[in-house]
């Protein structure tokens, strides 16, 4: 059964001296031929056929596992995509509401004693009122009002 695809003497000569190598090769060959005299035990045909069936079952199970894994991966990906989509929509709707407003109120409360903040708030209120008047009174000369407002905003920004 051993294919002996090597030159034993060559292998041995690289390790031990000439005579010793020859003796070792002879001992190994004698041992090999002794083993070769005996028939190798073989498995029953039923055992071999049973193994083939087991392999078939195992391969089928692996395929099923792969299908289940792929399906669950796709399901997870779909769930993630939906979650991202929902969170994006939610974030859009959330702007200026809920907790943001609560933070803003707290900040406004803290700044209420600041004179500069009071001045700025008054100016913003003026601009807001002017903008509202533009919307309500269409007979006004809107262009000049807008120009004035723009100037006010610029002054405000530069002054701040």
């Amino acid at each position: 059964m051993n294919e002996k695809n090597e030159n034993l003497k060559e292998v041995l000569s690289g390790i031990v001296g000439g005579e010793e190598a020859a003796q070792m090769a002879e001992d190994i060959k004698a041992g090999d031929s002794l083993i070769e005299q005996f028939d190798s035990p073989l498995p029953d045909a039923a055992v071999v056929s049973g193994i083939k069936k087991q392999i078939g079952t195992r391969l089928w199970l692996r395929k099923q596992q792969r299908v289940v894994r792929r399906t669950s991966e796709m399901a997870v990906a779909a769930v993630l995509a939906v979650a991202v989509l929902i969170s994006m929509v939610f974030m859009q709707n959330r702007q200026g509401t809920g907790s943001d407003l609560a933070i803003y109120s707290e900040w406004e409360l803290e700044m209420s004693g600041d004179p500069e903040y009071s001045l700025l708030s008054a100016k913003v209120a003026d601009i807001e009122a002017s903008l509202l008047s533009i919307g309500l009174d269409e007979d006004n000369e809107q262009e000049s009002i807008l120009f004035d407002l723009e100037m006010e905003v610029l002054e405000l920004v530069n002054g701040w």
């Binding site: 041992g31 028939d39 073989l42 071999v48």
Partner: protein, 183 residues
């Protein structure tokens, strides 16, 4: 390497590649090609038909899981390395069971696999191999059935080639002495 050897190698390479793709037919071919030599290896190591049947089955089932990890080199050598691991797993389990059964000597005698030996087909070689230690039998049978070169064998055993050569030589001399074929 002869033309026949090359054809055989090409054929095996193709079978292994198909096995890696999950072909049941290719696995069946692999079983037909190697069940004889692997069974011989297990039987010479254990001296027990039932155990050898189980180990052979374990080997090919493990192969289904492991064949994807085979990349290149001699498939037969790789296969026998897996077979050797399976045999040592079996030995470890056997030793664990033996420890569990210690102190219950009577029960152990009843359950020991050696009880079945009388019913086995035991030739002179098997009787002689039973007198050698497991590592030595593994070394001799691995070399005999796998066709590994001394270089491959020493690499598999993680020892210098000179050590492997000396061990094989000593083991074969001992085997001949046991069988009284050296006179």
């Amino acid at each position: 390497m002869t033309v026949d050897d090359m054809n055989e190698t090409d054929k095996l390479t193709s079978i292994v590649a198909r096995c890696q793709d999950g072909s049941e037919e290719a696995f069946a071919e692999l079983v037909d090609m190697f069940s004889g030599s692997c069974y011989g290896y297990f039987y010479r190591l254990t001296g027990n038909r039932q155990v050898s049947d189980d180990l052979l089955s374990d080997l090919f089932i493990r192969l289904v899981e492991k064949i994807g990890t085979f990349k290149h080199g001699s498939f037969k050598s790789w296969l026998f390395r897996v077979a050797s691991n399976i045999f040592y797993d079996y030995l470890r389990n056997k030793q664990r069971q033996k420890k569990l059964l210690e102190g219950k000597a009577e029960r152990f005698d009843e359950t020991s696999p050696k009880v079945g030996h009388e019913f086995e087909m035991r030739d002179e070689l098997q009787v002689a191999l039973d007198k050698l230690d497991e590592d030595t039998v593994d070394l001799l049978m691995m070399r005999y059935y796998s066709g590994m070169s001394f270089k491959e064998l020493s690499k598999h055993r993680s020892e210098p080639i000179g050590t492997t050569l000396a061990k094989v030589r000593r083991a074969l001399i001992k085997l001949r002495k046991i069988m009284r074929k050296d006179e």
